[in-house]
């Protein structure tokens, strides 16, 4: 009888170690386990599906190259992978003319889905509680920037505030979030 509980973090960490050693099968397995979650990240940042796919592809190329740099003591594997996917999406969004093509109105219908609260991780529940401390428009600014890659300029247009004010509001909001999240550790 196998009494060892299945630990997804442990499996992903092991796969990253194997990938760092050049194990292609481990890489395929990692793709199968994580691609749909990482695609969710690039898909809400890049509304055009072909660009979201390109970002995902670039993310996996980076994961293959950088797996050896993953430090289990520093970050959980899924967070580390999501960060790589997000950074690729941000870069691609900036390189492309998508911001010009995309009218702000199109962004009103948010296509990304958040999982039911019952499935939230402990960290996500804490983050949700801390976000709730912020005024509603600040919550929206943080979430639009994080999920959809909105720039300060885009936020300024949407919230009818000068760009410099948006920067100040973002930094203050983030400082409050930091206090709240770290304080609850």
């Amino acid at each position: 009888m196998n009494a060892i509980a299945h630990d997804p973090d442990l499996e992903l960490s092991d796969l990253l170690t194997q990938i760092a050693g050049g194990d292609r099968h481990a890489f395929g397995r990692l793709y199968d386990l994580t691609a749909s979650r990482l695609f969710a990240v690039t898909r809400c940042m890049l509304r055009r599906p072909e660009m979201a796919e390109e970002a995902l592809q670039e993310a996996f190329v980076r994961i293959w190259q950088k797996a050896g740099a993953y430090d289990p003591g520093q970050a959980r594997p899924m967070g580390w992978l999501a960060t790589i996917a997000r950074n690729q999406a941000i870069d691609l969004r900036r390189r492309s003319a998508e911001r010009e093509v995309e009218s702000l109105d199109d962004d009103d219908g948010q296509t990304y889905g958040i999982m039911p609260e019952a499935h939230f991780s402990f960290e996500m529940k804490r983050l949700r509680d801390c976000l709730a401390v912020l005024p509603e428009d600040r919550q929206d600014m943080v979430l639009l920037a994080y999920y959809q890659g909105w720039s300060r300029e885009e936020l300024a247009a949407r919230f009818s505030r000068p760009v410099t004010t948006i920067k100040t509001l973002l930094r203050r909001s983030l400082a409050i979030l930091r206090e709240c999240i770290d304080g609850k550790l």
Binding site: V61, Q65, R94, R171
Partner: protein
């Protein structure tokens, strides 16, 4: 970026994704060159990544898997060395101390360590600093775009003086002036002479304090205030 609070704000906005392009490049340079900043970024990634992980998975088109495998594994030899840029930046940072003699010695240090040569890369950055906290300038060399740009981070120039940028090492027998640093400093990378990644990886940037308008002799006449080694970014 004078206070640590500003720097944490920069790290936070880097992770949030709201920095403008120039600030984002600064942040990327700091991640490579500054362990404290890098730790700040990692802490912010940890704070905010639960949001990304709370997304409902989205089905990936089936043909993408084969494309990803080809793009990732197909191009990379199984035994390819993964280069740890931060580790190298730390090593180089330790030799980037003010002073011509030390800068020259730093160049020698790298020449004696062929393993430290960077791979062929299109972009290099140098974080120029003196003793003390925080960088003064961030310089970047973008071979693809053919530009060198320098952004002051915390440096202020005294009345009646100028900051002049110099390139050392990389096959040069004496410091080469790249000009007086103005507010929006951007020059063609061809000014560095032959552009190849090996020579760039051996190049140290330095800033000296000169009479207004720059050195009258073509060589540094004032004290060297800040130095930084060019480091290949990924």
């Amino acid at each position: 970026m004078a206070s640590s609070e500003d720097r944490d704000g920069l790290a936070a906005e880097y992770v949030l994704g709201t920095l403008d392009d120039a600030e984002r490049r600064d942040a990327e340079a700091l991640i490579v060159a500054d362990a404290t900043f890098r730790a700040g970024v990692e802490a912010w990634e940890k704070r905010l990544s639960p949001l990304a992980l709370a997304l409902e998975p989205v089905a990936v088109p089936e043909q993408l898997r084969a494309r990803v495998m080809t793009a990732a594994v197909g191009e990379v030899l199984p035994n390819a060395t993964v280069i740890d840029f931060p580790a190298r930046a730390r090593r180089w940072r330790s030799v980037a101390i003010a002073g011509w003699a030390v800068a020259a010695a730093a160049t020698g240090f790298v020449l004696l360590n062929p393993a430290a040569l960077p791979p062929s890369q299109g972009r290099f950055v140098a974080v120029l600093e003196a003793e003390g906290p925080g960088p003064a300038f961030i310089a970047s060399v973008d071979i693809d775009r053919g530009t060198i740009s320098v952004r002051p981070v915390s440096a202020t120039v005294p009345e009646g003086k100028s900051h002049e940028l110099w390139a050392l090492g990389g096959g040069r027998d004496k410091p080469q002036s790249l000009g007086v640093i103005a507010a929006d400093f951007r020059i063609p990378s061809s000014r560095l002479g032959k552009i190849d990644s090996v020579a760039l990886g051996d190049t140290v940037f330095a800033v000296s304090l000169e009479p207004e308008g720059g050195s009258p002799t073509g060589q540094p006449t004032g004290p060297v205030l800040f130095t930084g080694k060019l480091v290949a970014t990924e």
